[in-house]
């Protein structure tokens, strides 16, 4: 066991590192029995070059003295020393360590024991080794070279990994470092050539030495220009010309050596590149674009290293960026709107046909006598509710239709309002739409009743709820002149909107009780109103001009002649025909599509 000099704890004799403190124990590596010689001077460390020199000296001595070599390799050092004990001085013998003296003695004893047989064997082995000595030396030299190359690459790899994440170090792009790794000498020399093309060559090494550290960026840019000028040149300059190498001169660039490659100054970039280049350099993507140019040369693909081809992703990114920059300021492309094509003509033909039919019917076809329709149950219920009103009762008329529906709504509403006015029922107008203010005036005019002010209830749904809940007529929340909704015997809604009808039914209906809401609506709301009537939430309703005519007749009023019935019927017929035509065309198209798919399947 040996003791660690750092922590003083025991370790195995063969340990090279302390298992307790982890520090190095190489200095304590000892051969058993050699402890007594620890204080003696150590043997000088034998380097590889010394080892090779020893081999060659041994060969020379063998050739001169014709002595059989004992062995080759490191043991030959000891063997040669052992074979020439007479050459050692007594002082050397005294200085030799005790273990070495023991080994020498043992070797002498074994040599004596081996006798003649051993000597013959050694001579045969020596002759054999002499034949292969050259090959062994060559192998050894190659081995050493490989070790050195691997070590150099590992160092470079470690340096790169330490710089991982950063695009460049000291302004040197990653691709340039790779190029330098692959062709370090040639590129440096090429940089020098590019830097001072007209200076004498003798000054180049000095200039390279004088380059400051901050000039590394400049070198990188110059190297970029070298690569841009043509990868062939870069490769050629990286590999020194045989003539120049033989003369011991630095390699020359392509055009200087008289090569057929184009000169470096010759522009090889596209016309757009100078415009984009400042932007790309500003964005720090010059290396990617340079790599792009590097790869785009077809002749270079064979000579370039595979490392450079790994920059494909960077090339694609640079290409995308270049496209974006190129498109900058040009505006967005027009949106892909579906082309109407023949469908627009179909629409025009159908619309024009409908218009022509209606115009022809209105102009040329005489008015038909109004048929005696039987009113539906809701309309009858509304008529009963209206007839139940007495003189002096208050009816709130809520006008909420838009201008587009005013023609239909006036035909429905005007006879009813006229009938109520004739019976002495107090009408009060209210609207929740700003447009209702002037539309209600038109309605009064169409109904031939005295004009009166229309109150405006703001707030929409919230306003309706407020009006339904507030019993205080003097409240500022209600419009001026409007009483509490409970004071009205009937609230007559003139509606063309489903949402507005639901507002009144949902917000005011539950607070007013059943039978207080009556509706005069446009025909599009007939489907919506029926469930509410069935649920008992409406006193009744009339939807559409046709039902309005019947209701007017039931109230003893003359229906408005604003809408010719014939035209209405013609319009409905046209729509039915168009729908049937559309159904047939669609079915035919689907059938054709199925037939086309079947053969493919």
């Amino acid at each position: 066991m040996i003791q660690c000099p750092h922590c003083g704890k025991d370790n195995l004799p063969q340990a090279t590192r302390c298992v307790h403190c982890g520090k190095d124990l190489d200095n304590l590596f000892k051969i058993e029995g050699a402890e007594a010689d620890a204080g003696l001077p150590e043997e000088p460390e034998i380097s590889v070059s010394d080892l090779l020199r020893t081999f060659r000296q041994e060969e020379d001595s063998q050739a001169e003295e014709h002595r059989p070599a004992v062995s080759s390799g490191p043991s030959a050092v000891f063997a040669s020393r052992e074979d020439t004990p007479r050459a050692e001085t007594p002082q050397e013998e005294e200085q030799a360590p005790e273990w070495l003296i023991r080994i020498r003695k043992r070797a002498m004893q074994e040599e004596d024991a081996a006798g003649e047989l051993s000597r013959k064997f050694n001579s045969l082995e020596a002759s054999r080794s002499q034949e292969h000595q050259g090959r062994v030396d060559e192998e050894f030299a190659n081995w050493i070279a490989r070790i050195r190359e691997n070590a150099r690459r590992e160092n470079l790899q470690a340096a790169k990994s330490a710089q991982a994440g950063s695009e460049s170090e000291g302004g040197v792009p990653e691709w340039l470092r790779r190029v330098r790794e692959l062709q370090p000498e040639g590129l440096e020399e090429n940089q020098a050539v590019q830097e001072e093309p007209e200076e004498p060559r003798a000054e180049e090494p000095e200039q390279e030495k004088e380059l400051p550290a901050e000039a590394e960026q400049e070198q990188a840019q110059e190297a970029e220009s070298v690569v841009e000028s043509g990868p062939e040149e870069a490769i050629e300059t990286a590999e020194p010309a045989p003539d120049a190498e033989g003369a011991g001169e630095p390699p020359l660039s392509g055009h200087e050596t008289g090569a057929e490659t184009p000169p470096a100054e010759e522009p090889t970039e596209s016309p757009k590149t100078p415009e984009i280049k400042p932007v790309i350099e500003e964005l720090g993507l010059a290396s990617e674009v340079s790599a792009l140019d590097l790869e785009e040369r077809p002749a270079s693909s064979e000579t370039l290293s595979a490392d450079l081809l790994l920059l494909r992703k960077q090339k694609e990114s640079a290409q995308i960026l270049m496209n974006l920059i190129g498109e900058e300021g040009k505006g967005l492309p027009p949106a892909k709107t579906p082309r109407e094509g023949s469908r627009g003509w179909y629409r025009f033909i159908l619309g024009a046909f409908l218009l022509l039919v209606l115009i022809a019917v209105i102009v040329f076809v005489p008015q038909a006598r109004p048929a005696t329709y039987e009113n539906p149950t809701p309309a009858v219920a509304l008529k009963d509710a209206l007839n139940a009103l007495k003189n002096g009762d208050k009816v709130l008329v809520v006008q909420e239709y838009q201008a587009a529906a005013s023609a239909e709504m006036e035909q429905v509403s005007a006879p009813v309002l006229r009938a109520l006015e004739e019976r002495g029922i107090a009408l009060q107008f209210l609207t929740t739409h700003p447009n209702g203010l002037w539309l209600s005036a038109n309605l009064m005019n169409a109904a031939e009743i005295p004009a009166r002010e229309t109150a405006y209830l703001a707030g929409g749904r919230l306003g309706v709820l407020t009006a339904a809940l507030l019993a205080d007529e003097s409240s500022a929340m209600l419009p001026e002149g409007l009483e509490s909704l409970e004071n009205y015997q009937l609230i007559l809604l003139l509606e063309d909107s489903q949402a507005d009808i639901q507002n009144w039914i949902e917000q005011a209906g539950p607070w007013l009780g059943a039978g207080k809401l009556g509706v005069l609506a446009s025909s599009q709301n007939a489907a919506l109103l029926l469930p509410y009537y069935d649920a008992g939430q409406l006193a009744g309703y009339t939807a559409g001009a046709l039902e309005g005519r019947v209701l007017a007749a039931a109230l003893g009023q003359t229906a408005s002649t604003g809408m010719p019935l014939r035209a209405y019927q013609a319009g409905l017929l046209v729509m039915i025909a168009v729908l049937l035509l559309g159904i047939i065309i669609k079915a035919e198209a689907d059938s054709n599509a199925r037939h086309q798919k079947e053969p493919e399947g």
Binding site: A476, S523, A535, G536, Q537, M563, A567, Y568
Partner: protein, 227 residues
């Protein structure tokens, strides 16, 4: 006809033709007419709100300092100022208070109204269809009423099945039993009939408006010709 009626009549004809030009596709004249409609409606609405709401409800109470109306008027004034701060980009967040108040109040009122004014009454109406008073007529079964009640109930259930089945199909993509599929298909038929009726209603209203417009044009031209 007085000159003003003639001018307004021609303006009306021009606008009508511009709207009809949509038959040729979306074009400049149609858009001009549309912008005129929207602009006039917005301007008229703003004027009405100013005269009917802002001045009487907000400005007038603030003139009576010390009264209850004055103190109550400060609340909408503060909310209006917060809302106006949304015009400045840095103080956009100040407008979230009145907006959230409005949206929250409208949503609460809407949900309460739907549940109280539509959902509950409609469900009760379906159930009340099976009331013995309605199904018995002179102490005899009113088979028409009974069939109608079951038909309505079946329609409600099948439509609910359709919506539920549609949602579950979107979610899991599992195959439902054949009975459920059949009921769901019947619900789809009910929905189709309802949408068809809505379409007829919309078309009927549009047709009425179109006929009324053509009749007005005819009357105007005849009046012009008559001098």
């Amino acid at each position: 006809m007085n000159p003003m009626d003639i001018v307004l009549g021609f303006i009306g004809i021009a606008l009508s033709v511009m709207i009809f030009s949509y038959l040729l596709g979306d074009n400049f004249f149609f858009r001009v007419a549309l912008y005129i409609l929207v602009g006039v409606s917005a301007g008229y609405g703003a004027a009405v709100l100013l005269l009917k709401v802002i001045i009487p409800r907000l400005i007038e109470p603030l003139k009576e300092s010390g009264t209850d109306a004055f103190w109550l008027g400060l609340v909408p004034l503060a909310l209006c100022l917060l809302l106006a701060l949304m015009l400045v980009p840095r103080t956009v967040r100040a407008g979230t208070l009145p907006l959230s108040f409005l949206v929250g109040a409208a949503a609460a009122v809407g949900i309460a109204g739907i549940s109280r004014g539509t959902l509950a009454p409609q469900l009760l109406a379906v159930v009340n269809r099976f009331s013995p008073e309605l199904l018995l007529e002179n102490s005899a079964a009113d088979w028409g009423g009974i069939v109608e009640a079951f038909f309505i109930l079946f329609g409600v259930i099948s439509v609910l099945f359709y919506f539920h089945h549609r949602l579950s199909r979107k979610g899991a993509g599992t195959q439902r039993p054949l009975l459920v599929e059949g009921i769901s298909d019947v619900g789809q038929v009910f929905l189709g009939i309802s949408f068809g009726m809505l379409f007829v209603g919309f078309y009927s209203a549009a047709l009425t408006a179109l006929i009324a417009r053509i009749v007005w044009l005819k009357d105007f031209i005849l009046a012009l010709l008559a001098g």
